[in-house]
């Protein structure tokens, strides 16, 4: 099957004000491809939360979005510090974000829970000191 479309993004880690550019671009492209609006919104929210996480915790990273006939897969890979306890990180309200990020409206411990909520499948691989890869799928 060569019908899939791939989008790749480099997420810069040094500028919080620019976080969301990749998700915004992806959302526009999905719209143009005629993906149903409810699917687009789920993908956009999950990817945006992931992108924000990358900027807050991991100094940026890479995002690969694959659109196939039956699902959209987002792979967010960073070279950040890794997640010591994934179970804790998935708990709503649990946060390790610094105070300055909280004052910007994020870091309330809802990022990963929201990503889980809006996707049909989420898989996290992480290694301390090496990085984290979050793979999420939304069915079409």
């Amino acid at each position: 099957m060569n019908d899939s479309i791939e989008l790749t993004y480099e997420v810069s880690g040094d500028d919080f004000t620019r976080a969301g550019e990749a998700s915004s671009d992806c959302k526009q492209k999905l719209k143009r491809l005629g993906v149903p609006p409810d699917v687009i919104r789920k993908v956009a929210i999950a990817m945006y939360e992931g992108e924000i996480n990358m900027v807050i915790h991991a100094n940026g990273g890479k995002i690969k979005v694959t659109i196939s006939m039956d699902e959209i897969t987002m792979e967010l890979a960073d070279r950040g510090p890794g997640i010591p306890d994934i179970e804790k990180a998935l708990r709503p309200g649990y946060s390790t974000a610094p105070e300055d990020v909280r004052s910007l409206g994020f870091g309330a411990g809802m990022g990963l829970p929201n990503m889980k909520k809006y996707t049909d499948d989420i898989h996290i691989t992480t290694e301390l000191g090496v990085g984290t890869t979050v793979t999420m799928k939304v069915k079409l």
Partner: protein
């Protein structure tokens, strides 16, 4: 109600998106916490917030929010206005505080749209 009605009820000043004032809005959300806004995927067409940074516009864009209201006379930067224009989002500012601005819209029939309302 329409976005023009929102403007009237909260004595708002429109900063961009004047062409879209005739759009209908049914549900609103008032929050300074963007993660909370992102936690409810239902159609929230208006977002009222006291937070003023580019991520507010991004959040509105991801959620397909039609109208963004900055309370307590907060004014977004020109860059934020540009972002909002690109996303076709109406941006306005009001001198009212969050509680009052939300109350004025609620008293005119705009609702929150959260599951909580099922109990009434």
């Amino acid at each position: 109600m329409t976005i023009a009605d929102v403007k009237e009820y909260i004595h708002g000043e429109v900063l961009c998106g004047e062409d879209h004032l005739d759009r209908e809005v049914h549900m609103a959300c008032g929050s300074d916490l963007m993660s909370d806004v992102l936690a409810f995927v239902k159609d929230q067409s208006v977002l009222l917030t006291g937070l003023c940074n580019p991520q507010v516009i991004r959040t509105a864009e991801m959620m397909d929010i039609l109208c963004l209201v900055f309370v307590r006379s907060k004014k977004p930067t020109p860059e934020m206005i540009e972002l909002a224009k690109e996303g076709g989002i109406v941006v306005m500012t009001t001198g009212h505080r969050m509680f009052t601005a939300c109350g004025l819209l609620y008293s005119h029939g705009l609702r929150g749209g959260a599951d909580y309302e099922r109990f009434y």
